[in-house]
């Protein structure tokens, strides 16, 4: 593999990895928000 091909491969892997990190990171954030809402609801119910 020449240097250009290696760089092309690395940039492609970086693009796919970053995309998935952003999407899954956002999904995790939504999950935490969801849990926080449920916790608040339980606390209000207990009051």
């Amino acid at each position: 593999m020449d240097r250009a091909a290696v760089l092309n491969h690395e940039f492609t892997v970086a693009a796919y990895t970053i995309t998935w990190c952003i999407q899954l990171g956002y999904l995790a954030l939504l999950g935490m928000k969801w849990r926080a809402e449920n916790r608040d609801a339980r606390r209000r119910g207990a009051r």
Binding site: A5, N8, F11, A15, I22, E37
Partner: protein
């Protein structure tokens, strides 16, 4: 029933994502001039398409909120939840576009960024919607939703400008893949299929996270309303 439907949809979405990835990396042939780095296109373009769609949902939600906020407050809250969800998920996809684009550009053009019309208008679009989210997050008071709705409508006006930018002006950004004249379009049927599968997969994924975001926001609105009523009763 609702839970099992949601789980089935999520399972189909994950299967589509895996299939789309397989098509983009292993099935689609390597492009002759850009070689492997062209595969970024299979994530970059569908992300842009989904971002535009969700900004359009935010636009409809914002208009609906402004139209119904006086006479139908419950409906207005529903519209507001769609506006916020569309803007937030749209920003996530637009962020992907603004990161994968320069990664491709560095290899194809030799530069990370250039201030051409397509790139600049996309960055402005992203900044407008980030400011929308900051307004929603940090401002307080009864007018926040109205101000955000107005900002959301102005932000959406940038979407057709972004779309038309490489038709109206000469840009460094490649010519439109679709609808850009007789030479546009993907000629290789295998590449076209890989592109189509990835559009479908990212659209399904986008709808999945949009629906979760909408659900979380509606619950938040419900609890905020209950809390406000409790505060009013405690005040009496």
């Amino acid at each position: 029933m609702k839970k099992s439907l949601f789980a089935a949809y999520a399972a189909v979405t994950v299967a589509l994502m895996i299939w789309g990835f397989y098509q983009a990396i292993y099935v689609a042939p390597e492009e002759q001039t850009m070689h492997e780095v062209q595969r970024i296109f299979y994530y970059h373009v569908p992300s842009a398409m989904v971002a535009f769609l969700f900004f359009a949902i935010s636009l409809v939600g914002s208009i609906g909120f402004l139209a119904s906020r006086r006479n139908h407050p419950n409906r207005a809250q529903m519209f507001d939840a769609w506006a916020l969800s569309g803007a937030e998920v749209g920003v996530v996809f637009c962020t992907v576009v603004l990161i994968t684009g320069p990664l491709w550009g560095r290899r194809a053009w030799g530069i990370w960024w250039t201030w051409d019309a397509r790139l600049t208008t996309t960055l402005i679009l992203w900044l407008i919607y980030v400011s929308y989210l900051l307004l929603r997050r940090f401002a307080a008071g009864p007018q926040v939703q109205t101000l955000a709705a107005v900002l959301g409508i102005f932000g959406a006006l940038d979407v057709p400008i972004v779309y038309m930018s490489n038709r109206w002006w000469r840009t460094q950004h490649p010519a439109p893949v679709f609808g850009g004249g007789p030479d546009s379009g993907i000629k290789d049927p295998v590449m076209l299929a890989a592109f189509g599968w990835n559009v479908l997969a990212w659209l399904a994924w986008g709808i999945l996270i949009l629906s979760i975001r909408y659900y979380v926001e509606r619950r938040h609105q419900l609890y905020a309303e209950v809390e406000a009523q409790e505060a009013l009763l405690a005040g009496d």
